[in-house]
Symmetry: C2
Amino acid sequence: MQPKLADVAKLAGVSVTTVSRVINERGYLSAETKEKVFSAMQQLNYQPSLAARVLQGKQFKLVGLIFASLENPLIAQVVEEIENNLFSHGYKAIICNSMDNPEKEQQYLKMLMANQVDGIITGSHNEGIKEYKMSGLPIVSYDRYFQNKIPTVSSDNQAGGELAARTMIEKGSKKLMLVSGSLEKRAPNNSRITGFEEIAKAHQLPVSVVEFPFNATPTIRRATLREKLGAYQPDGVFCTDDQTALLCIQEAKKLGMRVPEDVQVIGYDGSNYVQEYHPELSTIVQPVSDIADLLVRILFNRLQKNEDQLLDNYVLPIKLLQRDSLRN
Amino acid sequence: MQPKLADVAKLAGVSVTTVSRVINERGYLSAETKEKVFSAMQQLNYQPSLAARVLQGKQFKLVGLIFASLENPLIAQVVEEIENNLFSHGYKAIICNSMDNPEKEQQYLKMLMANQVDGIITGSHNEGIKEYKMSGLPIVSYDRYFQNKIPTVSSDNQAGGELAARTMIEKGSKKLMLVSGSLEKRAPNNSRITGFEEIAKAHQLPVSVVEFPFNATPTIRRATLREKLGAYQPDGVFCTDDQTALLCIQEAKKLGMRVPEDVQVIGYDGSNYVQEYHPELSTIVQPVSDIADLLVRILFNRLQKNEDQLLDNYVLPIKLLQRDSLRN
DNA sequence: TATTTTATGTCAAACGATTGACATATTGTG
DNA sequence: CACAATATGTCAATCGTTTGACATAAAATA
């Protein structure tokens, strides 16, 4: 059995109240007693029962992370950085892979509420889930709009789309194609599309649009891309996520199109993984560290009930990573 | 405030004991009462306080996952599949990125103990951490050997190394190179090396060995690989992980070596990501789903105190995924 | 009809830590 | 020396749920 407060008290030769005082830093305490208590805790390898503390109204120091899937390198990185961030504040993260499944997401929310987590950070695709409102929990979202004053952090999707268009037009592309990795309305994501389209229109260049449902498999995407690339023969393709962009490059090459001579390709996300292991891909890079940082910061702000200066949306700047899928 | 048991009881017009009986399925209960209670729970959106239940000796239904880093696609996939598996059993997962840092791992163990998680699944690199013994928690490990009867699940590393060697030798490689993604002793990992070396020796073929410390950055790996490839000019390279294999292919090409004509390359891991987005790479594929499944199954077995038929090591079969980095 | 079985209720003690109220020493300060 | 500040102790209630002991009443069975 795990040692309890009383065991520590006995070993240290003090009362349980005193031990509790030491742990919670209340009242007057001599250095000597603190020392005794701490060493007793060490010896017994004592860890206060979180369950018992929570019952007293203390925080669990537990945050729920709801994201679609860790198999997306960007999400994996965001989750990892959030987790590191939380850890440094003494918080733990419960991970929830919603798999883009609203039912699963709903069940997760119930679980998280039962666990009485202190807050939730979500980057999942499904919205209109009423439990979000009911939960009464502090929630922060990544790159998703919610109806009810849930703060959202995202990269500057609009500017990203614009930058992608401007860049490839500058470098000579005239016959553009836009591939949306997932069609969901209301996602900030969509600004990537509008940003791109606006610039294209300003230059009076046509844009062929391909949209995938979010659950399209790589195989389906490949087949579709192959067909669209072959049929339309674009000389510049912007994909709203890196993974689709990779497929796009690969299929273009299979069709005998040279990248970037015949067709330039730009992706979106710029995870560490893509930067390191797909050196060819040019992409719009999201500031992941800043995003993770801000998400946690906002959550803590809400946790501490400092309901002050909370914006509804935080939009962080993106930048272009230019590599071989773009001409010089 | 969250509704409590008493609120449900009042709304359902029964006693708290009855509600508790319904929830815990104890004693005699009429269908009618159950119905009333369930509907009251629904109406109030009642979730029993896990903290209170845990205090009564119930399980948290919480498992700690300690892995090095989610930025490795294989780990991300393993974690994701474990999490899905746990979820279907009503369990949640706390995620811990140890970042290959023993100190962090130790802190995590403490946290997990304080949280009174029901068990731990670890695939982290650091061993000899005494807290593992002290924790008294059921632990299962992935691809790591521990001294003290902690069950381990791994892919058949030895067979994987052998298969890699046999395959490339069969396909004509005579000047072999072995690149170890991380040098750690005592890891099952090492069998990949010995397996490869044994077959090479049996064929009286020389093997040049390159070893990286686990924390070598991609940049360092690239530079080293470039030099070793250039100096040794191997015609067959086996890398003990896919990421290093990708770097290897890329650097070989930069050096003007053709893959697979001049040099064949085989990796190890075969995560979904690599299969989908690096179609060129040939690799030894670990059965990730089976691994995740087994890890969870073993953990549950220990949780239920069925200390029966528990092997120390479970070695699951691997298979070769042959693609363009190998000759036909 | 007598006796089980079924169905529910009341009550109170746990689980482990926190905390307020209050008591009692030992210091230190003016 | 008086009075405050410091240091610790005792005691009991509390958080929300579980559970055992016991009581009671209705329905089912013998």
